[in-house]
Symmetry: C2
Amino acid sequence: MAETKIPYKIYLNESEMPDKWYNVRADMKNKPAPLLNPATHEPMKPEELGVVFCDELVAQELDNTNPYIEIPQEIRDFYKMYRPSPLVRAYCLEEKLQTPAKIYYKFEGNNTSGSHKLNSAIAQAYYAKKQGLKGVTTETGAGQWGTALSMACSYLGLDCKVYMVKCSYEQKPFRREVMRTYGASVIPSPSMTTQVGQKILAEHPDTTGSLGCAISEAVEVAVTNEGYRYVLGSVLNQVLLHQSIIGMETKIAMDKYGIKPDIIIGCAGGGSNLGGLISPFMGEKLRGEADYQFIAVEPASCPSFTRGTYAYDFCDTGMICPLAKMYTLGCDFIPSPNHAGGLRYHGMSPVLSQLYDDGLMEARSVIQTDVFEAAEAFARVEGILPAPESSHAIRVAIDEALKCKETGEEKTILFGLTGTGYFDMYAYEKFHNGEMGDYIPTDEELAKYRAALPKVD
Amino acid sequence: MAETKIPYKIYLNESEMPDKWYNVRADMKNKPAPLLNPATHEPMKPEELGVVFCDELVAQELDNTNPYIEIPQEIRDFYKMYRPSPLVRAYCLEEKLQTPAKIYYKFEGNNTSGSHKLNSAIAQAYYAKKQGLKGVTTETGAGQWGTALSMACSYLGLDCKVYMVKCSYEQKPFRREVMRTYGASVIPSPSMTTQVGQKILAEHPDTTGSLGCAISEAVEVAVTNEGYRYVLGSVLNQVLLHQSIIGMETKIAMDKYGIKPDIIIGCAGGGSNLGGLISPFMGEKLRGEADYQFIAVEPASCPSFTRGTYAYDFCDTGMICPLAKMYTLGCDFIPSPNHAGGLRYHGMSPVLSQLYDDGLMEARSVIQTDVFEAAEAFARVEGILPAPESSHAIRVAIDEALKCKETGEEKTILFGLTGTGYFDMYAYEKFHNGEMGDYIPTDEELAKYRAALPKVD
C-alpha cells in the first residue's frame, strides 16, 4: 500500500475535542412533534416529564431552539477516558473492493460497553447525580446500553437497575456479568418485581420479553421509588443531542484534512447513532451551507422507516410512557426471534422521523444474511469484529462503494461503526453454520399492528 | 479533575511510530542460552530450526547481535490498522487510590484479538507468506494468540490451523467462533489428527488438554505437511523482538512528554508482553544510561519465576520441540483447572529468564482472588474491562501506588495492560459469586516435576 497523506486513523487531540453538543432541532424548520400525555393527548408539560426523567434532561428534551449546549466539565473528563474515537480511513476495504470510492468510518466500539451508547449514558447519569438522586432504572436488549449505563453509574457512584429482555438475559449471560462487574442489578424482564411485569406474565406466561415491555417495567420502578428516575438509550431528543459528539468529532477531523463526505450512512434502530453522526452535517444541509446524501439502514425484520407509519404511538408495551410521533410499526410489534441483527425497536427517533418525512434523508432495509456477510468481509480486511447492528451500515457502505466501482465515481463515503460484536458470537456461529435465515414481516402482519395504533387527532 | 498538561491518552502520530524492532539481546552481556537439539543436546542449527520455523524467523531467533531490525513496510501498514496503541494516564485510578504516585498504562487491547498478541502474529504470518508457504499451525489456550494469528492469516490469505486446549475449546465457544470468522480451522487438543495427540489420548483419555500438548500437535502438523510451518505466540526470542513495538512506542510517547518511569510492571506467562514492554528500557539499563525497577508478575498457581528452576527443559509435553534454558516448573506441570487467571505456561522466555537470573529484574506472584479484585476496581474507575492476565500487572501497580501513599513518594509507575476480558466473563462470574478459590501448588508437587527435568550438561 502506498504512503498517503490521510492517516489510517485520525485521532483528534484532547484540545480539539468539542466542548458543546449540537442540537439539530434548532435548525429544523419543521420541529419534531411534541410528546403527548397518553391520557389527555395534550403535550407533556415539563413537570409531568420530571416525574420520569431528570430535570435537566427534561429541559434538553424540550429545547428546540438552542443550537449548542455546553458539555459539563465532568462529562468531558469522562469522555477523555475513551474519546476521541478514531475516524478510520478504510484503505484495506477499499483495496479489497477495488473501488475508486474513499471510505471512512467513525469507530465507537473502543470502550468496554462496546458501543456509542456510553456517550449518552454518562450524560444522563451525570444529571441524575447532580439532581441528588440515588439511582436510575433502564431497560436493555442486546445489552450495550445496559453495560454503558452500568459503567457510567459505577463511575459516579449511582445505583443502577437494568431490566434486561429475558431472551437476551438467558442467551447473553456474559453481558449480564459485565454489568455486574460494574455493580448494576440486572433483572430479567418481564419480572414479578413490577405490576406491569406481573400483568404481562399473567397474560403471556411464556413470553421471552421485548424492549417495549422492559421499558414499562423500568419506568414503573423509577416513578414508584423515591430518588430514582428512568433513563433511555435511544429514540429521545436528548439522546440524539448527546450523541452529536460523534458527528462533531467526525466533522472536526474531516475538516482538518479537507475531506468532504458525499454519502453518510448509519444503522438505525431507535436512531441514536445515526442521529448523532449526521447531526452537524444535517445542520449544514438545513442551513443551506452544504449538501449530503444521508442513508438510514434498518433490518428488513424491523423496517420502521421503510414500511412503518408516521404517527403517534406508545414508546412502550405497557402504554405508560408518553406518546411520540414517529415512524413506527406499532408498539406490539416484535421482530422474529430468529432475527439476530439487533435494531429491534418498533419505533424511530422523532427527530429522524421528521427529517425523513421532510425528504432530507433516505432509508434502506437489508436482510440479515447480507448483513453478516458484510460483517465477516469487513472483519477479515479491517481487523475489527463489528456488531451486527453496525454491520447494517457496513452492508450499504459496501454496496455504495461497489456502485462507484461500476460508474468510476470517486465518492467519499462515511459510515458509523457503532460497536463491536464480541457478545454476538452466537449469531456469528449461526451464520457460519448456515443456520441463519431471513425474516421479513408480511404485509398482513404489519397491517394488523398498524390498525392498532392509537387514535390521536 | 483539574486541567493537566499530560493528556488522558497519548497517541503517537503515524509518522512517530517506530520503523524498527529493538533486539535487547544485542545489549545483554550474558546472552540467553541457545536452544538445544533434544536428542543430541547440541545447539540447534538454523537448518534444523528451519524445519519447524520460517527461515527469516529462524534468523531473528538466533540473532544476538543486531540491536535494531527493520519492520517491513507491509507489517507497518498492518500495524497502522490498530496501532499506535494509547499510553494512558490513569488519573481516575490515582484519584480513587488517593496516591501521590503517577500511574500510566500502555493499553494493547483495542483490537479484535483483544491483546498484544497481534504484534507478533502479523510478523510471523508475513514471513511465512514471504517464504511462499501455504499456511501455519499453532496452539492456543485462552484463545488470544489463536485469534490474533487468525486475523493476520486472513489478512494475508494464509491457511491457519489452531490447536486449542480442549477445556478452553469447550468453555470458550465464542473465542472459537471469532477464529472461524477469520477463516481459521480450530481443532480441540489433544485430537486424533496427530500421532502425539493419539498417544496422549490413549494414555489419558479424559485429559482436558494443556498448552504443552497443543504445541506438540501443532508442531507435528507443521513438520509433516508440505508448505506449513509452526508459529508460537510467546516464549521465543523472535516474539519478544516483535513485541518490542510496545515498549518502543511507550518510550517515544514518554520521552515526548518528559516522563520517566521509576517502576515498570508487566504480567508474565511466557513473557511476550513483559519482554516487549521493558525491552528499550532494559536496553538503557544494560548500557548504563538509566535505571528502572522492573517487576514481572505471575500467578501463584503457576509460579515459574518465583518457585521454578533455571534449567534446560522441554517447551512441549510431547518433547518434540527443542530444549530451552528457562525458569521452568517442568514441562508436565499443569496449573489447577480452577485457576482462571491465564498465564498457565510451565516455562518462561529465555531472554527474561537470563535477565532475571542476572538480577536485572524482580518477580512477584499473586493469588487470583486478589487479581480479580484489582481487575474489578480498575474496571469501575478506568472503564476498561481488563483481561485476567493483564490484571496481574494491575494488582501490583495498585500495591505499589498504595506504598507510595504510605511513604508519600511521587513515583511514576508504568504497567502493561495487555488485553480485554470480554471472553473471560465466566471467570468474572465465578468471582462475583464468591466461587473463585486460590490454588497454590505444594512444595512436594513442584519437587516432583523438578526431579523430572531433563539432564543436560
